[in-house]
Each structure stands twice: as C-alpha cells, then as structure tokens.
C-alpha cells in the first residue's frame, strides 16, 4: 500500500513540478502526431497484424501453467519422487501443447 502510494506520488510530483515550471506556447503543428514530418494520414487505431495476438494466446496458456508450477516448486522437496513423477505428466501435456502449436505453424512469423 505504502509502495503503491509512493509510486503514484513520484509520478504526480514529477509531472506537477514539470507542469508548474515548464513554458507553454500554442501552435497547431504541435498537436499533430510525429510521423517524420509528413502529414499524418488516417487514424492509427486500425486493424493490426494478427501474429501478435497468436503469441499472446500461447503466452496465456504457458503463463497459467507456470502459476501452477510455482506452487508445486515450493513443496517438491517434501514430495520427492512422487512429486517428480506427477509433474512429469503435467509437463508432458504442456510440451505436447507446445509441439502441437509448433507443428501447426503458430510459432512462425508470417
């Protein structure tokens, strides 16, 4: 809580000081997006390459898996061989998932 407030205070104070002492001038050109000097054409909020989305989905799958692994990693020393064998099945399913995605070509950047 303290840390969150500290972070917010840092940004607020820095921006506050900057806003207080920085000069201000108006020029219609300033409001334009900087795209190397040529006038902007169209909006930027448009259709975008789907490849990024694919990787995001893949990441979601693996990230949820790591969350499960964390809780297992803490107790694996007590579980011993039993823990090793049981996680083997879990990892096997996961690796199969990765292999499937690989085979399907989801890891290619087209």
């Amino acid at each position: 809580m303290v840390v969150i407030l500290t972070a917010i205070a840092l940004v607020a104070v820095a921006l506050g000081i900057a806003r207080a002492i920085s000069p201000r001038s108006y020029n219609p050109q300033k409001g334009e997006a900087y795209e190397c000097g040529i006038p902007t054409r169209g909006r930027s909020w448009m259709q975008f390459k789907v490849g990024y989305y694919l990787f995001a989905i893949l990441f979601l799958m693996f990230d949820v898996e790591t969350v499960f692994l964390f809780s297992w990693a803490v107790v694996v020393q007590e579980l011993g061989v039993y823990g090793l064998v049981s996680i083997l099945f879990f990892l096997l399913i996961l690796i199969l998932g990765l292999a499937y995605a690989w085979r399907k070509g989801a890891l290619e950047w087209k």
């Binding site: 303290v2 840390v3 969150i4 407030l5 500290t6 972070a7 917010i8 205070a9 840092l10 940004v11 820095a14 921006l15 000081i17 900057a18 806003r19 002492i21 920085s22 000069p23 201000r24 001038s25 300033k30 409001g31 334009e32 997006a33 900087y34 795209e35 190397c36 930027s44 909020w45 975008f48 390459k49 490849g51 990024y52 990787f55 995001a56 893949l58 990441f59 990230d63 790591t66 692994l69 964390f70 990693a73 803490v74 107790v75 694996v76 020393q77 007590e78 011993g80 823990g83 090793l84 996680i87 083997l88 990892l91 996961l94 690796i95 990765l98 690989w102 890891l107 290619e108 950047w109």
Partner: protein, 348 residues
C-alpha cells in the same frame, strides 16, 4: 525506531510517520539508482565505442545526469490533439508503479527490504508484468503509427520472455523450496545457488540473463524502440517529464533484473565464502551486506550493458523464434533436470 515513535505519540500517527519515512527512503533510493544507472550507461557505452562520454558538466561529467533531469523538468509537456487523453496520462503511472513495486521487493541487506512476503518472487514477477500494460497503453493511446508498432512489438516480446524468466526462477525455487526473498538469501549462506545447483543453475542463469535483457527492451532486443525504423517506439509522443518517467522506469527495470539475478543466483547480500579458507571468510564478512548486494547487482548490470553494446539488433521473428523454439524447451528440460538433481540429492 518503532518503539521510539510509539513512546512519543499515539500509535496511528507513529505508523503513519513510519510509512512516510519508508516511502521517502524508497523514493530516494529509486531516484539515486536511476541517476547512477543512466550515468553508468553513458560511460560504459562511451568506453565500448572508444569515446569519453559526458565530461563537461561537473568533475568527470558527474553532474551531467542531474543537469539532464533539471532540463527535462523545464520542458513543455505536449499532448497531441487526437490522442486518448485519459489512457495517455495513465500510462506513465502504470509503468512507474510496476517498477517501484518490483523495486521494493529487493533485499538490499539483512532485514533491509520494504516488502518481504512469503510469495516474494512470485509477487515481483506479477508486479513487473504490469509494466507491459503501461507500455501497450502508451503506444495505443498516442494515436501514432510508430508508437503502436513499437508497443505491439514490445508487448509480444515482453510477455514471451516473461515465460523464460518464470521458468529459470522456478528452477531455483525448486532448489530452495521457498519464495520469500529473505529466506532465499539465507539459504545461500553456505554457497550461492549458482554453485550449489551446478549445471541446471548455470543454464538457468544464462537463460535468465538473456530473457531479462529482452524483458527490459534492451541490448540486441531493443527493437520496440529501434530508432532507425520507429523514431522512439512507444514513447514517441511523450515529451518532457512524461518521457523522463518512461526512461527512468526502463533503467530501474534493468537494475531490478540485475538485482533479482544477484539475489537468487549470486547470493544477495551474502558475502563470498570458500569452504576451508577461514581467514578469507572472516575478511569477507567485514564487508557490509549492501556493498555485496550492490556490487553483484552492478556486476550483472555491467554484463548486460556489455551484451547491449556488442551485439546487433535482432528482427522480431528471430526474437520470437529464439524464445519459443529454443529458450522455452530448454527451460522446461532444465527445470526437469533440476528436479531430478534435487530429488536425488545431487546438489552440493
């Protein structure tokens, strides 16, 4: 200090004042680390390119970065006309919040850390992954095509490499069976995990360094802000202090990556001990813990800067291939190897 404050004033006020003191200390350390990191980056970069780097302002250029901060404060903050105002202003808050939260977890010395949960490592990873949201918001809300491309690349890269970071940290957690930072450091009193876990720990360390470098968008993985193609990437439309906050967060994130590497692989504030060398160990014990911590952290930072200024930039498909086809399978295999080592007690 708690006892002194509570004897002078009611409990609530004492707690409040303690919170304020902790917050101010945290801020000061955050700012100092950022300044030191930026200065170090400029000097290291200059050394690698056979230049002098900043030398004019102050002795040996030492006042260059404070001067830059002042300059940054006096610059106008411009918001472009067609941007999404709310998200545009929210983005720096999220980026800084993520990095301050992660920063607060680092154990600097014995008992000297702001947050020390029993799920510390996990919390740190969760907190630092909020940063991706901030970067995506910054790129999206700017309504600039360069920003959008930069943010998308950055998002894809950061979430991908987070997996490898997670797997390499998991490898060490299997060895320690705890996620609390203070405990992790305490377990390394008789040998750092890099040496204790021998082969799998070493592999995990290398994977961590690569993934950590990619996670902070640096070095050969800096294509989210590839200057020659994207101007400045996701913060193209941010000016003055707005930009400064992104910049600071980036450098402190680099320090956090290095600090975590120092803590979980290189023993945090634990001095270097070699079994059998009593005199050597006693001398090492005299060096205070925070010197060890910062020494190790800045050693890793130096390593990452060396990598950054040595390798050429990768392409986006190469980056994703490296992660998904090499680092993730190797990481998983390495995790299994570590479990086998731990279960059959093959570690030192």
């Amino acid at each position: 200090m708690h006892a002194l404050l509570t004897s002078l004033m009611p409990l609530r006020l004492a707690v409040f004042i303690e919170c304020v003191i902790v917050g101010v200390c945290l801020l000061l350390m955050y700012a100092v680390i950022a300044v030191v990191m930026i200065f170090m980056e400029r000097k290291v970069c200059a050394a690698f390119q056979c230049r002098l780097g900043p030398v004019r302002v102050g002795f040996w250029g030492l006042l260059q970065v404070p001067a830059d901060v002042l300059k940054m404060l006096t610059k106008e903050i411009i918001t472009i006309r067609r941007s999404d105002r709310f998200l545009y202003n929210l983005a720096p808050y999220i980026v800084i919040l993520a990095s301050v939260l992660a920063f607060a977890c680092l154990p600097v010395n014995k008992g000297l850390e702001v947050l020390d949960f029993n799920v510390g490592v996990f919390f740190l990873m969760a907190a630092s992954s909020i940063g991706v949201v901030g970067i995506l918001l910054a790129g999206w809300s700017s309504n600039n095509k360069y920003s959008l491309i930069g943010a998308m690349r950055s998002g894809a890269q950061m979430i991908s490499y987070e997996l490898s970071i997670g797997l390499s940290i998991l490898t060490i957690i299997v060895l320690t069976d705890t996620m609390q930072f203070s405990e992790i450091v305490a377990r390394q009193a008789d040998g750092w995990f890099l040496f204790k876990g021998h082969v799998p720990a070493l592999v995990a360390f290398v994977i961590y360094l690569i993934a950590g470098n990619a996670e902070v968008n640096r070095g050969p993985f800096d294509l989210p802000e590839a200057e020659s193609e994207l101007t400045a990437g996701y913060h193209t439309e941010y000016s003055g202090m707005h930009f400064g906050l992104f910049y600071v967060a980036e450098f402190v994130n680099l320090f956090i990556v290095a600090g975590v590497a120092a803590t979980i692989f290189l023993g945090g504030w634990m001095p270097l001990h070699i079994a059998g060398w009593e005199g050597f160990n006693t001398v090492m014990d005299y060096i205070p813990g925070f010197v060890w911590f910062f020494g190790k952290a800045f050693f890793v930072v130096g390593l990452l800067m060396w990598i950054k200024w040595t390798f050429p930039r990768l392409r986006i498909d190469q980056i994703l291939t490296l992660e998904w086809k090499y680092l993730v399978p190797i990481g998983l295999a390495n995790l299994l190897l570590m479990v086998i080592v731990v279960v059959f007690k093959l570690h030192f």
